[in-house]
């Protein structure tokens, strides 16, 4: 597997629809300071920085330029710094970037930062529309919500999933978010509330969709030698990877099965030597931007057979007191600063393994899974973190 790498510190920011109290560099500084404090180290110990954001939501293209001084203090400004951007998986790709920076042997302690200020955009969907190929598909107004709605239509049609199943996912995640001081949406939402919420793009209602959030996240990764010196509770990277599926949504009409994610999961489980994910994974933070995706992720990640993901939500298997809690943080459904979200999944998984997840801590976590998806539902990243070194 290569050089052992662990996450030794995590920094989150409070997310909201618009963090009016801070300019962009201040938001970054908040995340970075929190991570350095968590790892109990100073800037001078950081050997390199990896930065991710999904351009161009923030009203500033390539915001890492404006933000660089907030990531690295003045005396250390000529450090190696690399920008990674891969759509919705940006945060996950940034974590992977940090992992390979340390894994290469060139750097011992690396800061990975990801951010998004969707709150500075007046119409986020307008920006997302520019992801759609301007030659054929942009004129049809395709975007994230409509693609996810296609996933839901298919899952209903082929597997008999219902609107109530989606509402149960929403209710679970909203309840979890109440325990997460950094979450954006913090409100009580029952299944009935969810079923009454406004229909956006059939069958997805407002409660089935993630918000647009301002927020940032930073994690610190270290080599084995440094990790053991820095903390008693490192979160070791046991498996990591990415997969790239075709961007042409029309090529992948089997919307009900997330084949590319299933393929990635097989690869990463093999690397991590996981044979029974349901039994061996203690908590999961997959990227649930739309409720139906959580059910699809149960299936693609091997927690349930294809078409049987609904049983997990119906039986409470993925609730906080269930066998395999999913999205204890409330997940993407309650907090989505898009470019940062994938890194927040990794950060939340790390906090669970490190035993630092406060009120949202799942008891006895050894192994945690973090995932993100992006692009035309074609990109996926995955990381498996563990209390024990691989």
């Amino acid at each position: 597997m290569g050089r052992r790498v662990a996450i030794v510190g995590v920094g989150l920011t409070k997310c909201s629809s618009h963090r009016r109290d801070v300019t962009y560099p201040e938001l970054i500084h908040e995340a970075v300071s929190n991570a350095l404090a968590d790892a109990d180290i100073g800037f001078e110990q950081i050997d390199a920085v990896v930065y991710g954001s999904m351009d161009p939501f923030d009203g500033v293209f390539a915001p890492e330029r404006w933000n660089v001084d907030a990531c690295v203090s003045a005396g250390f400004l000529t450090k190696p710094f690399m920008k990674i951007t891969t759509g919705g998986t940006t945060g996950g790709s940034t974590a992977l970037g940090g992992y390979y920076h340390v894994g290469s042997g060139m750097f011992d302690v690396v800061l990975a930062v990801a951010s998004q200020r969707v709150g500075e955009t007046l119409e986020a969907q307008l920006v997302l529309n520019t992801a759609i190929d301007p030659i054929y598909e942009r004129w049809i107004g395709g975007g994230a919500i409509t693609v996810a709605a296609n996933q839901a239509v298919h899952h209903f049609h082929y597997y008999g999933t219902t609107e109530e199943d989606l509402a149960m996912v929403a209710a679970k995640n909203y309840a979890n978010a109440l325990n997460n001081p950094y979450a954006h949406l913090q409100r009580h939402l029952t299944v009935e509330d969810a079923l009454r919420s406004r229909m956006i793009s059939w069958p997805l209602r407002l409660s089935d969709c993630c918000p647009s959030s301002d927020g940032a996240c930073a994690i610190i990764l270290a080599s084995e030698e440094r990790a053991r010196k820095l903390t008693k509770t490192p979160a070791w990277v046991r498996g990591a990877g990415q997969i790239t599926d075709n961007y042409n949504v029309g090529d992948r009409l089997w919307f009900h099965d997330w084949d590319s994610l299933a393929m990635l999961a097989r690869r990463v489980y093999k690397q991590a030597k996981i044979t029974d994910p349901m039994a061996e994974i203690d908590v999961a933070e997959p990227y649930v931007a739309f409720t139906v995706q959580e059910i699809m992720e149960y299936e693609a990640l091997g927690f349930a057979e294809p078409g049987r993901g609904v049983e997990l939500i119906r039986k409470g298997v993925t609730a906080m007191d269930g066998k395999l809690p999913v999205c204890p943080s409330g997940g993407t459904l309650c907090t989505n600063p898009i470019g940062a979200t994938g890194l927040i999944r990794v950060a939340e998984a790390a906090l669970q393994v490190m035993g630092k997840a406060d009120k949202r801590q799942v008891p006895n976590v050894k192994t945690a899974l973090a995932h993100s998806w992006g692009a035309a539902i074609g990109f996926h990243t995955m990381m498996i973190l563990d209390k024990e070194a691989p």
């Binding site: 049809i140 409509t146 956006i200 793009s201």
Partner: protein, 155 residues
């Protein structure tokens, strides 16, 4: 909030014009829509899939498609959603965005559904279904763009 604490909000907008080339493949596809009211796909020489709309690369085979294949104006609905809130770039709601696999094609073409009354959400569940047959409805004055097909209607 006192005057000393007032946070100012600065407006901003990007006005970034682009000139996007349609390239060889899309240009021919659009010219055929405009001039001959025909819909074409291209076939990958290795996997033999007919890709609609045409594109310069079959990413699975990493090969350039070289054979132009005319496909039908009729096809099957592979996926859809019905939007109830206004989205930039879409006609006012309610509007159905669809993926149609034209007869002869191996991939779905993203487009809009027309000729269906979507005003009653409950009734719409019966009117729009995966697997239903649809046909292209053409615009009177065609310009060489995807909206030369105005929408697809059920048949």
């Amino acid at each position: 909030m006192t005057q000393e604490e007032e946070i100012l909000i600065m407006p901003g907008a990007w006005n970034l014009p682009f000139r996007h080339t349609a390239g060889r493949f899309a240009s021919r596809f659009f010219r055929e829509l405009r001039d001959n009211q025909k819909i074409y796909g291209v076939r990958c020489p290795r996997c033999r899939r007919v890709l609609v709309p045409p594109r310069p690369l079959c990413e699975r085979c990493f090969a350039s498609p070289d054979e132009w294949v005319e496909v039908s104006h009729q096809g099957t609905l592979g996926a859809f959603t019905i939007c109830y809130v206004p989205f930039m770039g879409l006609p006012p709601p309610p509007v159905a965005m669809i993926m149609v696999v034209l007869d002869g094609a191996d991939t779905g073409l993203q487009h809009l559904l027309g000729g269906v009354d979507l005003s009653d959400p409950e009734k719409s569940r019966d009117l729009v279904k995966i697997g239903m047959r649809v046909e292209a409805v053409w615009r009177e004055q065609r310009r060489g763009e995807i909206m030369d097909i105005q929408h697809f209607k059920p048949i």
